[in-house]
Amino acid sequence: MAEFEPKIVAFLCRWCAYAGADLAGTSRLKYPPNVVPIRVPCSGRVEPAWVVDALRQGADGVLIGGCHPGDCHYVSGNYKARRRVYLLKKILPELGIEPDRVRLEWVSASEGKRFAEVVADFVAELRALGPIGAGSDASRVTRDEESTALRGG
């Protein structure tokens, strides 16, 4: 069987992490093609609901990339992002999602290499975790299907 290729949704702040991803591209660095980048104004703009939405819609992992501490274009958005991810990771198991599927990383605009490394590392970790929802055949059913199934037995 072909190796499992995890799908990653990456919310990248436009000032640092997205620019870092760009640099990785323009410097022709190789990194796994598993990432779908989404540019956001700031890591502090990323809502926990978006992260869970991405995971519920089939992403195997979500990467949030922001500026290093002290470098956020909006001063403290990345600190807010950190607190959100901290709480999110506490509640994810309760929602049936492994917390390791969410990663927050600081990547500056000049760190193309670091971006490539972060992605490679995350892909390896997600490969080890396996596809989201595996191991429970009920995990992909919609609420309607679920209730019908429950009523059937």
Partner: protein
């Protein structure tokens, strides 16, 4: 997106508190109602505490007026109707069935399917029917864990000794479900139990024939904070406390005082009854359409508010200390909506909430330990 955003029934301005019940036939310019004769209503309870049935009395004297305008054809809490009585009614012969309680047994399913067939309109009445409600917190344990804990090891379902087979109690479903996961629901009157103003709003609309779009939830689309009289100033959270740990200041916003008040993500419509009494909102009217998932919306808000002095790398350990004061995440953030917002327990098991699936029947302390939440 949802109809309830726009389509509020006439006579319920969003800016004011819940509309008290108005006897339309006495003071309305157009006394004609949609109903040629007195509309037939049914009220039924499934996995219910009984509070919803009693809540009708909350509207006060107006109940006399409401009851004089309707014909009650089925209401187990009032009379003693039998299932056969309901079965004998022609399909669609009941104008509205108000159903409260969570769906927990095979019998619940059969009864609400029967009511759905007999009623033109089905209303999810109360938080249990709306979102699952407090009894659906039981979904944090499996059916086998629950039965084993209550009945002891070696339990089996059956009739009382010597009794006929049909006297066996109905089987439990694997999980508790909100009404909408079992039958089509036309309207919702939310709350635990629904507050008088919203009950009145429903009957005003129903008896006058001016019902909003199907799917409407009889509460505000705006957040509870907008109708809460407490003053918000600081908007900074320096600690998180539980209700028994604090005698709150009578004026100040409870969230600002460190209590987890779900006002920012919960529908208005109760006049902030709990915050006015010094208790944080626990979210019984359900999340606003904007909030969507109440737990995720709330952790987003909390993370924004928490401060341990000047933000920076040095503050991080102290910030985490404050965030760690948020305990019992499901009970606090999803008290009324586990089956609506939190998925199946096998996934939770897999994600390490309870570790290995326990062999049934049951460990002596089902589900203990998971309250600490996952590793951060």
């Amino acid at each position: 997106m949802r109809a309830e955003d726009e389509a509020r029934p006439k006579g319920s301005p969003d800016s004011m508190g819940p509309t008290p019940y108005v006897a339309r036939h006495e003071n309305s310019a157009s006394p004609v109602t949609r109903h040629a004769s007195r509309p037939k209503i049914a009220v039924y309870w499934t996995g219910s505490c009984g509070g919803c049935d009693v809540s009708f009395l909350e509207v006060g004297e107006a109940i006399v007026d409401i009851l004089s305008q309707v014909e009650i054809v089925f209401w187990p809490a009032l009379a003693d109707p039998k299932r056969e009585d309901l079965e004998a009614m022609p399909p669609g012969s009941i104008d509205v069935a108000l159903i409260n309680g969570t769906i927990r047994t095979e019998e619940n399913v059969e009864m609400v399917e029967l009511l759905r067939e007999k009623a033109k309109l089905v209303v999810a009445y109360g938080a249990c029917a709306h979102l699952g409600g407090v009894p659906s917190l039981a979904n944090l344990s499996t059916r086998e864990e629950i039965l084993g804990e209550v009945l002891g090891e070696g339990w089996r379902r059956g009739p009382p000794p010597g009794g006929p087979e049909e006297d066996a109690p109905p089987d439990l479903l694997p999980r508790a479900l909100p009404l909408s996961q079992v039958v089509r629901v036309d309207y919702t009157v939310p709350g635990c139990p629904p507050p008088a103003g919203l009950i009145g709003e429903f009957f005003n609309a129903f008896l006058s024939g001016e019902m909003p779009e199907p799917g409407y939830v009889f509460a505000k689309a705006k957040a509870l904070c907008e109708e809460c009289p407490r003053t918000r100033e600081e908007r900074v959270l320096k600690r998180i406390v539980r209700p028994h740990e604090l005698l709150p200041d009578p004026e100040e916003c409870l969230l600002d005082q460190g209590l987890i008040c779900l006002g920012p993500v919960t529908r208005g419509g109760c006049n902030a009854a709990c915050p006015q009494a010094g208790m944080p909102c626990t979210g019984c009217l359900g999340p606003t359409p904007k909030a969507g998932d109440p737990g995720l919306a709330m952790i987003s808000a909390l993370a924004s508010l928490v401060r341990a002095g000047e933000e920076g790398e040095e503050a991080i350990p102290k910030e985490d200390e404050i965030l760690d004061q948020l305990v019992d995440l499901i009970g606090t953030l999803y008290k009324y909506g586990v089956p609506t917002f939190c998925p199946l327990s096998p996934e939770r098991e897999r994600a390490g909430v309870r570790g290995k699936a326990s062999p049934s029947p049951v460990p002596s302390q089902p589900g203990r330990g998971r309250r600490k939440g996952g590793a951060a």
